[in-house]
Point group: C2
Chain length 314, copies 2
Amino acid sequence: MKALVFDGELRLTDIPIPERNGEALIRVTHAGICNTDIELVKGYMGFNGVLGHEFVGRVEAAENAALIGKRVVGEINAGCGKCEKCGAKDPRHCEIRTVLGIAGRQGAFAEYLTLPESNLLIVPDTVSDEAAVLIEPLAAACRITEQLDVNGLATLIIGDGKLAQLIARVLPLSGARCDLLGKHAWKRDRVPLPCKTMALDDYEPSRSYDLAVEASGSPEGFATARRSVRPQGTIVLKSTYASKLHLNAAPIVVDEVTVLGSRCGRFEQALSLVEDRKLDPTDLITHRFALEQGVEAFVASRGSDAMKVILEIA
Amino acid sequence: MKALVFDGELRLTDIPIPERNGEALIRVTHAGICNTDIELVKGYMGFNGVLGHEFVGRVEAAENAALIGKRVVGEINAGCGKCEKCGAKDPRHCEIRTVLGIAGRQGAFAEYLTLPESNLLIVPDTVSDEAAVLIEPLAAACRITEQLDVNGLATLIIGDGKLAQLIARVLPLSGARCDLLGKHAWKRDRVPLPCKTMALDDYEPSRSYDLAVEASGSPEGFATARRSVRPQGTIVLKSTYASKLHLNAAPIVVDEVTVLGSRCGRFEQALSLVEDRKLDPTDLITHRFALEQGVEAFVASRGSDAMKVILEIA
């Protein structure tokens, strides 16, 4: 099968269809490029192999016959099945988990992938492929509402990229009063009400926000967050940084700020939002490529005119 | 009056007794040197003036006649009295507060100081002067239990200095299961049961703690904390660092760790612990100096044989 592999360089290659080993075999139809993929290509996590963790596809083989032929999305963390976290049906923090296209598990930028059947969710017919491929990053945005009660919080979202955009759509649904701070006018223009937008160049922090969500992917975003939250406020870190963040800890202590890391969310919640038409994430898609154009797709995903770049695989 | 002043260098000098301006005038009898004082002398906060914020003294003049002659300790944050925080009787985060000997207010390393009467607590006769002078740092240790429910948490306290020692005495009283990690054998030997101790040199982090409290004052302490807490664990930062902390944010996000700054506590809680004989902090006092020997006292406080250094002022 064709696959987009990173092994020091990113290239399209032919590799065998993966062995099932008791998992479901899925024919990938669409996959999305995430900033984490771009970081992986810079060496983050030291991952080598097939990239990609945002996908929708059709089950070709599985133990559970009811899954076969179904259109599915899949949670990306595959746990050991035995630890306390896995016992609580939350493999997101299993210490020996593998993560689709990120750690110890071949990813979705290929014609086929495998995942444990318990990771799969069947996609309702009313949800399009292009919406389904965005369920994974949408779940990551929803994760904040699983960690914090955001109702009524004056919230600053830092960044105007894909993840920031999804956060700007999700948090108001839970009652947060959101402003989004972004560099790019055309990206800010995509932010729907009730979230307001502000240009980064004009912004003067005033320690007025209860909550700041750093989703810009730049270390400066954290400094902006720190200068924007009130004493005893909260900063949520959504971005993983390949570079080190230089942090002056004194103001964190003096202002008793809480800094909270936030990663993967639950697919059920994200899928419900789309199914119930609470939001439509597909307007974030700016580019579509065939798998064979995967290297070009990565170049495009770094362009100033890109938000979500989709690979149309089958 | 004599006062220990920092204005680029630390020196003993003569300055006028402070004007009361509606506050209480207090004759300082004992004061304690804190690591924050040592940081201030390195330029932290850009403070110039009389240092010192840990004290016990006797009220010489006040609006409230019932205070006159009483032995008191005093909360160090003096608020504006008008903002939301001050309205909730919590000037610790008033945006225009002054802080005794730290920000905008002359401190306690002098024969006299003034503070708002509402900041003062009368010290019961059963509490010694040497215990009373430790109420301020003890309250800072108690602050953690005001922010978090530590009951049952597997807790690592990083550091074996004054503040770490007080935390090691306070947290077990609220049900935390504590280990303390320290560099110095003689300091570890001062840690009372039920807190266990470990030598820093022998320590291998294993991501097993629910909570790590960074109280070592060194940036490496944060890295140790990060490697010691479990996924979704909590790191409390008690130390302000004059230098910048270099933090790799990726593991904070991936492990969804909470980092929580923690500063000043409530004096009532700390005073009750001492009055009720739940703990006795005075075994942390290693050196005593007269105010006239203040510069020597600072040198001693940085020595490897020092924990709490007390100035006996009157």
